[in-house]
């Protein structure tokens, strides 16, 4: 217990997921030596970047004790929307990208309003966006995907490299840093945590509870929209059903990263590492060339092992 604690740090601290990640990386390298190649790390990071960006938004939502199931559908519909604007209707990237981000913000704003003013549990409202935006994604091109055949993906340079590093990684990195600074160095971060820790306390000191809740959904919406743009640029085409399963993965990443479901504690970096751990599991399956029938079982076992570092000393739910 004490050795475990010394090595891994306090429950809920960033140290835990970091140490776990390092151990996981070492083991991965041992069982699949090609793992540590620069190119594989690059592939792993880039293909995890969408999930990481979603996870940063999700971590803030869960930090306040709520949940956002809709991120994957916001991502898919934003990807379709940006392609609809640029590819199908010739908008320049300079207007299409901000419009898409704004659309993500508007979705978050509506979700926030329904949760706060409508007093509907966030699980239900965001299950609504999960379904509804899945539908919206279909509408942009009559259920069809959008590809360079339909026009020009004028924003695809987002997926290029700058100084040898993918822009997608730079964006992701930037967002993690901003998110972590916001959380740990600004009043806003304290407010969000206080909401999760004791909403009544946050209310009594006069925090604008409703605005804060709306804000986290807006942030989550914006980041999900950004992830949608990123994945469209990366694929060079976009499908209305892109990203299915990402919501669940983002939530799992947050919990693996040490934020409890009830909120109040944890870090953005931890959550991002949680997402990386999930990406790593997928990567290992490919590297090990597991027979596909055993894939899922492998995922489950690794996930539960990873879960051990997310254990907490207090109440476990």
């Amino acid at each position: 217990m004490s050795i475990n604690q010394q090595l891994f740090g306090e429950p809920g601290s960033v140290k835990r997921p970091i140490v776990f990640l390092i151990i996981a990386l070492i083991i991965s390298t041992l069982i699949a030596p090609s793992f540590l190649s620069g190119r594989n790390i690059d592939a792993l990071l880039v293909s995890s970047s969408f999930l990481i960006v979603l996870t940063v938004g999700e971590s803030l939502v869960i930090m306040t004790g709520m949940i956002d199931l809709g991120v994957q559908s916001i991502m898919a519909s934003a990807g379709m929307f940006v392609a609809f604007l640029t590819v199908l209707h010739g908008f320049p990237a300079i207007t299409a990208l901000p419009l898409t981000i704004i659309a993500g913000a508007v979705v978050g704003w509506i979700v926030g309003l329904l949760v706060t003013k409508g007093r509907i549990p966030s699980f239900i409202v965001t299950l609504g966006t999960y379904w509804g935006l899945k539908g919206v994604a279909l509408l942009f091109n009559g259920g069809n995907y959008i590809s360079p055949n339909n026009g020009l993906f004028n924003f695809s340079s987002l997926a290029n490299n700058t100084l040898g590093i993918s822009n997608l990684l730079l964006i992701t990195f930037f967002i993690i840093i901003i998110g972590q600074i916001m959380l740990s160095a600004t009043p806003l971060g304290i407010w969000l945590k206080s909401l999760g820790s004791n909403e009544a306390a946050a209310k009594t000191v006069g925090l604008r509870i409703d605005s804060l809740k709306i804000l986290v959904f807006i942030i989550s919406g914006i980041l999900a929209a950004l992830a949608g743009i990123m994945i469209a640029a990366w694929q060079g085409s976009i499908y209305p059903t892109t990203g299915s399963g990402y919501s669940l993965q983002a939530i799992a990443a947050v919990i693996l990263g040490g934020i409890p479901f009830s909120g109040g504690r944890g870090s953005v970096i931890g959550a991002a590492i949680g997402a990386l751990i999930i990406g790593l599991i997928d990567d290992l399956i490919v590297l090990l060339g597991l027979p596909s029938l055993y894939e899922y079982i492998f995922v489950a076992v690794i996930l539960v092992i990873a879960g051990f570092q997310a254990r907490s000393r207090g109440v476990v739910k």
């Binding site: 160095a185 009043p187 945590k193 820790s197 209310k203 009594t204 006069g206 925090l207 604008r208 109040g264």
Partner: protein
Amino acid sequence: MSTPNQSRTETPLLSLRHLKKSFGPVHAVNDVSLDIYSGEVIGLVGDNAAGKSTFLSLLTGYNLMDSGEIYYKGRPVTVKSPRSSRQELKIEMIYQNLSLAPDLPIWQNLFLGEEITFAGIFNNRRRMINESQRVVRELNAKANPTDLVGTLSGGEQQLVAIARALLFSRELIIMDEPTAAISVAKIDEVLKLIRHLKAQGKSVLLVSHRLEDILTVADRIVVFAHGKIKQIMENRNISLEDLVHAMFDRTPEEEVKDVH
């Protein structure tokens, strides 16, 4: 008896008129009117479930009243939320059930919603910790500003709640049983503090079951019973017995009947 005291001529800091609040069949606050003047300490006493905490919650906006009016320095004011109450009525309150976030350290709890920042954006962590240290020590608490509030002893948590009111003392400080969990020596500190606030011209509304304390610091004593003000007494030559009598001058049987 429950009409506001008319003897003073200055405009009250706060005038409360006919406040009502029910929870289903329970009339927790039932037509309460009271004037609160600047620089006075009002003691609020009454049996359990008399409606004291509910009454205070109407002033702080934690509960919304069913009907009634509130005047701030003569001007009618609507309290829609704790936020609007803080802004419009300049109230700081120490809640009975300790409104603290257990996962946050003391300093973050103390400055919650009133953070000191650099450039309006970043937490001035050092200063907030130092200030917290100062005020916590002032109250003789041992805890460190970076301790998580959830790990403090019952009394130390209460001291943190009091410290908050100290940091941002406003025109009216409401305290709902601030000394219930703290040790004798510290109670004196809190009473000293109340007198200090009064000396600064601030008003204090103090709810306590420690009648000795009420008799020590209050200028006026308001006796609550069954959601109503039963009596308002100037605190001059009142004995503990008088006060207890004023609070409980009915037989328990009568009280039971009165519940519904």
